[in-house]
Symmetry: D2
């Protein structure tokens, strides 16, 4: 039933939902961490107890020229990795005057070109961002508020995988498929896992794996995709989770549920709820392991690079079971 397209979303619905979900001021007027505040020290201790087998999963796609960016959205490009010194230089002898044979390198990349966190300063609602700060605080010098460096020690806690594709018996959800609240609840039930306050909720659609298997990213970055229905905003708000992380470019369903706004779910969850969002997560190995051992919860540690004033960060998220 949830394969049906949701009803078109109106701008007034969007604004009403935004109003209902608004957490501004909840953690004081100076807060820049949003729902990461839901994670308590006790939650971190409890999450550590989920490490039972010592199995470590990297949820990052490699960062390189073969990444998903195909020029569809926002001037983002794939990482450009270049060398400042090489082994071939070393072999030529030209480094020997310096007494050290070495290689060195650099990278240029959009912070959201691959596996990444959105910072709370990434999306605005009208003229404001999370907690009511003015959008004007994000100029060419970076974000003076809600930048990713403010949460550099906050991305640790309990992770829960909701493998929606697997629960539906699919390799991958088709593009344009809505993931509804009922889908999330059914997945949790199927996995015998409970979503709790302060969780990092990791949702698998299988879309990334479909692209990898096909050897072709196509519209992955900015085109059509399976994703969360707008209605999940309220569920997220009520569930008081810390973050949503997915294996798609933008978490929410595309085409979007309205033609009047782009990424309407983003309009609400980032600036209004204050939700941290992880995108382009590689979930294949973790999902396979969860399916095998039946355990869908794990210790989660996904530290962003604290780039001062940045509105996103590449990340290598780690799940440990």
């Amino acid at each position: 039933m949830s394969n049906q397209r949701p009803k078109p979303l109106s701008m007034s619905q969007l604004r009403e939902t935004a109003k209902r979900c608004k957490n501004w001021g909840r953690w004081g007027p100076d807060d820049e961490a949003g729902t990461l505040n839901f994670i308590s020290a006790e939650d971190v201790v409890a999450a550590a107890r989920l490490i039972r087998r010592g199995r470590v999963f990297s949820l990052a796609l490699n960062f390189d020229r073969n990444g998903p960016q195909r020029g569809l959205w926002g001037n983002r490009f794939n990482p450009i990795h270049t060398m400042l010194a090489t082994g071939t230089d070393a072999l030529s002898g030209s480094q020997d005057a310096g007494g050290l044979r070495y290689a060195d390198d650099m990278v240029s990349l959009p912070l959201q070109c691959g596996t990444q966190w959105d910072a709370l300063g990434h999306i605005f609602f009208d003229d404001q961002m999370w907690n009511g700060y003015s959008a004007a605080l994000v100029d060419s010098n970076g974000a003076r508020r809600n930048s990713i460096d403010r949460v550099k020690d906050r991305m640790v806690g309990r992770g829960v995988l909701l493998d929606v594709a697997r629960v539906r018996g699919l390799q991958a959800l088709e593009d344009g498929t809505a993931i509804t609240v009922r889908d999330l609840e059914e997945a949790a039930k199927a996995h015998s896992v409970e979503i709790r306050r302060g969780d990092f909720v990791v949702i698998r659609t299988g879309q990334m794996e479909r692209c990898i298997d096909a050897g072709e990213w196509g519209g992955y970055a900015g085109g059509d995709a399976p994703g969360l229905a707008f209605e999940t905003c309220e569920w997220i708000h009520e569930a008081e989770i810390a973050a949503v992380c997915m294996d798609t470019w933008g978490c929410e369903i595309r085409p979007n549920e309205t033609a009047d706004a782009s990424q309407p779910w983003h309009w609400v969850v980032i600036p209004m709820i204050g939700l941290s969002m992880g995108e382009i997560f590689y979930l294949k190995d973790l999902a396979a392991d969860c399916a095998q051992d039946g355990c869908y919860e794990f210790f989660f540690c996904a530290p962003p690079l604290p780039i001062t004033g940045a509105v996103g960060s590449p990340v290598n998220p780690i799940a440990v079971k």
Copy 2:
């Protein structure tokens, strides 16, 4: 006594030590992880038990134009963070045709400009790198062997802090101070902590904090520094630790113990021992906490960005107690 300069190191000593410490082939001919192989799944489970209070520490310096690079070494520069879209753009209305008000950004940075991991492909010994691979495998297209992406799920385990500065009763060791095996052992003893196989050994000199307090990096990146004496190579080899991480630019003592090689300790520990090395770690807060609660061991998770073919990676290392 260890404040004395070590005796000058000869190239034959360097080569003999390299020979004695050589781990090539120890984990098979195809290994690219080196001493990270010492970490067992049981070690990870045991490390998780060190999470008792749920306190999370970021050991990263922020990445920005105020970083430590001052042009002293190897064409490294501080991170250049630029915006692809801004809140001021949003306020001008120019984004509204697209239906989303947002900010977006990119960064260009040398992979070893700030808090970072050296990959095993970073340093060569003569014509070879870790496990005997030819230096020619690192060319302008990156490293085909021993690149940082090969260990993207390996940087998790038990961390131990050896706060050498504090044990000596100093805010910071002076530049040029050698940290000897005895210093390491005394620090462990003073902290009542045991160094074990597979540990991430984090060593504090206080040098970074001295620079931060002075508001001036000076020669931090490539100039003189306190650091590990060459003799620690053998201790590292015997202790079978997974990694060394420090609050200095290059871990080892500078000026180096010989004028015939630059970074002689690097010559041995990276290509010969196969040791992962973390540099420019920010240790102030973790060290203060350890001094307070007397517990110098913790869960350590420092996932590198898996940049394909890279010989280093910026990182936000996380310690959890």
Copy 3:
């Protein structure tokens, strides 16, 4: 006499001068070339007649890490040149499968880090830029009006050197020295050269050469400097010249003649007069030649790189005598 500091400039004087010099609409409402319109085809033909000896001068500083940027102003940095393929790679044999041995490279640079043109979109007066276009037309996607690519075929004509330093008998004017209208007129007289409508007026202070001789850029980029007095705005307006090019970072005197505005001369000449401005020109060789043959006019060709939407461009300006 002109060594004296000019009287402090008031904001009302600045605004009155701006009003008097305003050329908006002079070349129609769609113009994006400003004073470059003063150059006629006949002027180009006449300028070609100044090529008498076939001697070619490059007026560019090399672009590299040793450039003048020292972090004093606006996040500009020196060029970062990196290789995509090298001769050492070629010698290692790794390119041979591709059938070609080659080197290749890239550069990252602020467009105004070295010898450069300011585009007319570089400076705003209140909310507008040249010809009355809104400043909002320059957002993170670049300049939709007054970008440098609009004048890609306009930087050709008659060049005239006014060697103010030499006329005053100095190697270099001291920092903070004002160049007044009288200085310009005296220089022209001393050189027996007439400034004409449509000219590229190249002015030498000797500051760059002083820095090069000292082996130290110091405050060259953004610090104190000799430069044009604010009063020259009106002279420039009346003389109907095409452009001013100088051997300093910012053409005008620094410290500026007021504390109430930064670069007050820029406020007028770029957005109001519509003047193209060349900065960080290397003039030593040209000036020496002019002193020797007594001829201070030449053919001038300084094509900007037509980077779409850019507000400046690095350039290798050519003078031919």
Copy 4:
């Protein structure tokens, strides 16, 4: 007849041609300018006499994200232009504390991504480059010999257009079409223009215009193309021209005339003859003007950016008639 594919080229033919065309030492052991030495001061003076109407042509394609690079060859990408300050920032008031409202920007680009010069250090023949210098002199720090900055004041002289497409009555030559010596001679004859020693010979295939008209670069950068037959090496050598410039990605015919070498014509003309080569030139407007006035010679000024140690340079070549 010249539409026929040339006979396959053997490696021994390639090597024999290279030997016959070798100019090493011709201008002394320290030369780094190659055939640009053919241009005399008198040639420059004579070229200036070709400026009769004062009409200026830019032969550059704009540099932006819509450039021809499609990832087919050598890790080259299209220019990435980003802003360091914007008009929208200015309007937000955030710049006013600094007293200046301005925009500023930077670019990252492969030096050969668009309209460009190949430096003599770009291509190697076996282990050497132009004038016999070792390929080892081009490492990750750039080219110590034959870099583009060495010829910063040499790209001025007489230009001649050979509009091969127009002479054949075509909008554009088909991909894979060989341009032979006979084609060049017939074009010169049809244009009533003589090729002379020291000329910049500009050859039009129409391929770029075909792509622009189609709104699709396709295989322009690194795919099939019309271009010079290998046999033209000897003609170039004998004609003693200064440079060849074309409206294609790589001047020579693709697919190449042999499967045993990539870009065999490059093997000879750059490292052996010492020829400067301009690629990706925009020739539509110049060609239309030449067709109209029947005059195929002009003053040519195409100053490279003197990026220290670079093996190529973006350029805005100027033709003046």
